[in-house]
Point group: C2
Chain length 266, copies 2
């Protein structure tokens, strides 16, 4: 199906805009992603948008033509609109010329195959969607299997998280669970849980990492609860040469994940 929308007050525009809010994403089970590169990555990972929104006056591109054809073939909808309306939908001044509406994925722990990767990232009460998206992006880079979100985290399907993930929201598995669900799941199979910590910790360089290694990062301001840290198989410290006693959560996860990657590749 293909149609053109030119009015800001069109109900479809209102619906698409509403996906910027968590409650509307939750109600509909849909989310929004923008940009041709990101939508192409999504397609190559088997995620086609249910609705493809394109702005008039966009540059023609063979990848966009392919995407359009694939969306139509799958029974999806193509909407042509103005650049202003697309900006309003994505909430970004200089909007990309294309956006897609996707169905949210299964985010149950049961959907994860822990043997599929040597590294998994785990975030606890991570509140900043930019940090969350950055962790997805880092996970993609280190070949992680996915990101497990523990307790009350930001929404991985928010526009900000999807944007910061640079497409990794489509390549990384995402699971959501409480600590009380996660720990028994982890202990029901192989898996080493590692956290950066100041408690009974060893230096992060050369620590005895083992696959599958679950790298746990805590909340931006509180860090990890002590009992979470003490449930880890390995606690490691990173050098802190200055006044601060911690790194940005996404940075800490990345420095640690790259160390684990190096250790497990030897």
């Amino acid at each position: 199906m293909r149609r053109e929308i030119t009015g800001f007050s069109n109900p479809t525009v209102k619906y698409l805009r509403s996906l910027r809010e968590k409650k509307h994403r939750k109600a509909s089970g849909k989310f929004l992603a923008e940009g041709l590169r990101l939508l192409t990555d999504a397609g190559e990972c088997g995620h086609l948008p249910e609705i493809l929104v394109m702005s008039a006056g966009r540059d023609p591109h063979p990848l966009l033509a392919e995407l359009e054809a694939a969306v139509e073939a799958s029974g999806g909808e193509i909407i042509e609109t103005t650049p202003d309306i697309l900006s309003k939908i994505t909430g970004k001044d200089n909007a990309q010329s294309v956006a897609g509406i996707f169905a949210e994925f299964d985010t149950s722990l049961a959907s994860l195959d822990r043997s599929a990767a040597k590294i998994w990232l785990v975030a606890q009460a991570l509140r900043d969607p930019g940090n969350l998206g950055t962790m997805l992006r880092t996970g993609d880079a280190v070949g992680a299997g996915g990101l497990i979100l523990i307790d009350d985290c930001a929404d991985p399907f928010s526009v900000e998280a999807v944007r910061a993930s640079m497409g990794a929201v489509f390549t990384q598995k995402i699971a959501r669970a409480s600590w009380g669900e996660f720990l028994p799941w982890l202990r029901s199979g192989d898996g080493q849980l590692v956290a950066a910590s100041l408690r009974e910790a060893v230096p992060y360089r050369g620590a005895p990492y083992a696959a599958p290694c679950f790298v746990l990062v805590g909340n931006e301001s509180q860090g990890l609860p002590e009992d979470y840290e003490m449930s880890c198989d390995l606690r490691v410290t990173m050098p802190m040469k200055g006044r601060a006693d911690s790194l940005n959560a996404a940075v800490a996860g990345a420095v640690l994940a790259y160390e684990v990657l190096d250790a497990l590749e030897d």
Copy 2:
């Protein structure tokens, strides 16, 4: 001097709020930082606020009492106001109960002593103030001397950058320069310029880093211009196991800086 402000329309409130905008910071040469921990860190690094703004109903704290006394002794101003007005000034819903107005620092290259540290971070056209603040925080953690901002970067004195730096804006030296100013300055003394790159690069692990090592990170979406990369003494690659070909700029800088730290400590 000490006074109480209870009206939103008070000219001082308007002035303090205006410091959230770059043009007003530039005009006044002042910036805003919030939170007792951050202000205490600033004081211990020799930076006292010219104005200390405190909200009524704050919890008493010995460090705050010390700070008040120091600001008064230095001829600064103490303003007591309501939590709502302080929120309005800092632009944050759950505002900290204290904020300070500081004079911006000297950000000339000439103010840097390159022999003061083994690592320096350098960012080119870094546009996101959160990334900039995160790089300052990482710099503090790896014992860097400071952050050099090349070409058109975000403002290190913006509320977002100061917040993300977690106080490192006061512990790290900050310099701003064009590439045309930076490169001759770098070449006028010791210094190895290193960038993450895909061009004629060696693996980042075990690369021949040398102090003082200047770790260069490029713009979030464009990366580094090719001629900047080719001016580097060392180009290194980091593993990219997934679909993406780059990391978040602040993450790339941190992973590289921790590798340099390890190499130079051996």
